[in-house]
């Protein structure tokens, strides 16, 4: 093992005389590591200390890097993701060995699914103790192997500068992702003269990795040809647009070609949802218009065994840009855009043909591809008119849009009976809260979410016009993400209003981060859409299990009228102001007080649990199964 490492180093070693190679003074491993982070431009680290990482914390006390102490490693690592998603730079989190390290695992998996640049640092027991079942020892490299873009176990104090530089380069380039650095304690204590490699040297050493992927000219020309021929084109755009900062080019391209745009949940903000060409987002809970535009309109089926009866044709050309055909977008893969020609541009070739076979796959960075497509379009403008298609889409838009109403189920719900006596008309539906928030913030806030119904409503009732304004755990679907992510986002953008739209279940999962918000003076806000239930699972229970509740009630079974736990009291104990809102007449003023607050602020909004998220395409279903 060690010989192999050394041999590789020999070949990658740069000429000893280059300026960057000038060795510095003799330093401790821990200080070299923190200086390496500083050299990468790290401003903030979310780090919870322990025996195997306290050396690094000692260095951090003397560093210009801001260290934020979360109250749980999961909170810290989600905050680092929030920071990364808002800035585009790698978020950095750190924990000690063993349980500290395993508490980072969910965020690492989350960052892997959502292509989020994340540097996760774990302390490790001393090398001599590795493999001996030492106190707080876990094989972190082994545990995280399937959920990292890459990982490093530091085995030589001289490797620290190179490893840190490589880690940041890999995490932030190409398709971004999480990189784990596992750092044994004895090497934190070891001393050496660090030699700082340049990025070029590091790139040369990485023989199996490149971030320079550019679309082929012929393929781009072919796309233009396909657009010229198509009558019903749709742009289906994802997180890649945001990652590669391609929103400007996308808007230009859509406007020049007049092709309607739908985005994924990850792509929200990549194209302004207020734009006339926007179909909003697509998929299981996306807009009916977007789903019809992609796959066609069908007669609604009662059961999936009924035949598909097509009413209107969907897209004949689907331009899938920076997306990965997630099952929550496609439903049944075979029926998704069944009759359209699919063009898939992605920087990750393994996404081509993975879930859905594309007719034309293009391997490249999407901003570069769009820039060149725009150049082609401006040279040879698209002349064909697709007015018929635009009319069809407008017609669909009239037929179905996001909507809500106070249904009899809601009027007769426990919530209304228990809390609204005499004020039945004052019931607050979750959608109303987000709709009002959108109004009050003029769409100019950074929104984070937990996972579940509230997350889908946050997608539907807030309109995103700028990239990096919706920070949500889309791929992994990690409950508890919202509030810590809001803290990270607010640290990155203190000038912006950052609001976590959360559910009571999700919020409770990382509620300890209220302490971080208060102590670190991070003025992120949270709205708890409190329905005392695990709302999304309840919705599935209603749809598929005749409403039988399988442990989805989160309130107090001994007193169902109580709103439990009492978030006002909980928040107060953390010195975070919080108020409960039950009546609609109080909502607007309460939201305004929350927005005006200079500190963290929590609004506990009590809502009925009987509300379902619509549209709804059941998992594995098709657009013909869409309730809307």
């Amino acid at each position: 093992m060690s010989t192999a490492t050394k041999k590789t180093k020999k070949t990658t070693a740069p000429p000893a005389k280059s300026a960057s190679a000038a060795p510095g003074p003799v330093m401790f491993g821990r200080d070299i590591f923190i200086e390496a982070l500083e050299r990468e431009g790290v401003e903030v680290i979310f780090a919870y200390p322990g025996g195997a990482s306290m050396e690094l914390h000692q260095s951090l006390t003397r560093s210009k890097i801001r260290t934020i102490l979360p109250r749980h490693e999961q909170g810290g690592s989600f905050a680092a993701e929030g920071y990364a998603r808002v800035t585009g730079k790698a978020g950095v989190c750190m924990a000690t060995s063993g349980p500290g390290a395993t508490n980072l695992v969910t965020a690492i998996a989350d960052a892997f699914m959502d292509s989020c640049p994340l540097i996760a640092i774990s302390g490790q027991v001393a090398q001599a103790m590795i493999g001996r079942g030492a106190f707080q020892e876990t094989d972190m490299i082994g545990v995280t192997m399937p959920i990292v873009k890459h990982s490093y176990l530091i085995t030589d104090v001289n490797d620290i500068p190179r490893i840190v530089k490589e880690a940041f380069y890999i995490a932030q380039s190409g398709r971004p992702g999480p990189v784990v650095i596992d750092f044994p304690k004895n090497l934190q204590q070891a001393k050496t003269q660090p030699r700082w490699p340049t990025l070029e040297e590091v790139k040369r050493g990485l023989r199996g990795y490149t971030d320079a992927v550019r679309a082929d000219d012929i393929e781009l020309n072919e796309i233009i040809g396909l657009i010229d021929k198509s009558e019903r084109p749709v742009l289906y755009c994802g997180g890649g647009i945001i990652t590669s900062e391609a929103a400007g080019e996308l808007k230009k391209f859509a406007e020049a070609t007049q092709i309607p745009v739908t985005t994924t949940l990850m792509g929200l903000g990549g194209f302004p949802e207020t734009h006339p060409l926007s179909l909003r987002w697509l998929g299981m809970h996306g807009s009916a218009v977007a789903n019809w535009a992609v796959s066609g309109e069908f007669k609604l089926r009662k059961t999936p065994s009924e035949p598909l009866v097509k009413l209107k044709e969907g897209a004949d050309l689907l331009l899938a840009f920076g997306v990965r055909f997630d099952d929550r977008v496609t439903g049944k893969f075979e029926e998704f855009c069944k009759n359209g020609t699919i063009v898939h541009i992605d920087i990750d070739a393994s996404e081509h043909n993975k879930n859905k076979r594309a007719h034309l796959t293009v391997h490249g960075d999407i901003r570069d591809a769009l820039t060149r497509l725009n150049a082609l379009v401006s040279k040879r403008p698209v002349t064909r008119k697709i007015t018929g298609w635009h009319q069809q889409i407008a017609e669909w838009g009239k037929k179905a849009s996001f909507h809500y109403e106070i249904t009899p189920e809601i009027a007769q719900s426990d919530h209304v009976k228990d809390h609204m006596k005499g004020h039945e008309n004052e019931v607050i539906l979750p959608q109303m809260v987000i709709e009002l928030l959108y109004e009050l913030t003029h769409g100019d806030a950074i929104i984070t979410t937990g996972v579940g119904q509230h997350q889908m409503w946050a997608g539907q009732w807030y309109k995103y016009t700028q990239p990096r304004t919706l920070i949500t755990s889309a791929g992994l679907g990690s409950m508890g993400y919202g509030f810590p992510a809001a803290l990270g986002a607010k640290v990155a953008r203190p000038d912006k209003q950052v609001i976590d739209i959360d559910g009571d279940g999700s919020f409770l999962m990382n509620i300890q981060e209220l302490a971080t918000a208060h102590v670190e003076k991070i003025a992120a806000k949270a709205i708890i859409l409190n329905n005392q239930h695990l709302g999304m699972v309840v919705q599935w229970e209603d749809n598929f299990f005749a409403g039988n509740r399988g442990h989805t009630y989160l309130g107090n079974p001994d007193d169902r009228r109580q709103v439990y736990p009492d978030y006002v009291k909980v928040c107060t104990s953390f010195n975070v102001p919080c108020e409960r809102v039950i009546y609609r007449k109080d909502l607007k003023a309460a939201l305004q007080r929350m927005l005006d607050s200079k500190t963290a602020y929590v609004l506990d909004v009590v809502t009925p649990y009987s509300e379902h998220v619509l549209p709804f395409i059941p998992a594995g279903g098709t657009v013909a199964d869409m309730k809307y």
């Binding site: 093992m1 192999a4 490492t5 041999k7 590789t8 020999k10 070949t11 490299i141 082994g142 192997m145 399937p146 873009k149 890459h150 990982s151 176990l153 085995t155 890999i170 990485l206 023989r207 199996g208 990795y209 990750d348 070739a349 393994s350 081509h352 043909n353 993975k354 076979r357």
Partner: protein, 159 residues
Amino acid sequence: MVMRHTISVLVENKFGVLTRVTGLFSGRGYNIDTLNVGPTHDPTLSRMTIVTRGDNATVEQICKQLNKLVNVVKVVDYGTDKYIDRELVLVKVASDSKNRAEVAQMVELFRAKIVDVQLKSVTIEITGSEAKIEKFLMLMRDFGVLDLTRTGQVALPRE
């Protein structure tokens, strides 16, 4: 259609690479028929030769996932006839003075080699293509195969 594929993976000689490669297979429930790892002419690189089964889409996905690993330098899925493959097998066959000559004759025919002789057994080394080895082992079964070890395929492209 499920077919056998021989995949050559050129990797950097760093610890954990084998686990990263095999993890891609196990994590997706793909089976590996044989796997061989060894050094190349470049001491910083190793070559893995992996024989696996799958339809084209599966193997395409395997190769792309392998390519994504930071320590993987090159992945080649060998098509039929475009490569040379060999395997080395050590087989211990039940054989005493009565039939030793008969075994030796077979060994001769297949250009294999007897590398050890015991009172009641001989150990034979054979290399060659898969077809040749399968044939030889089938013939050895009549004498009684006591033990067997195979390297798995190693392969290089013809051009």
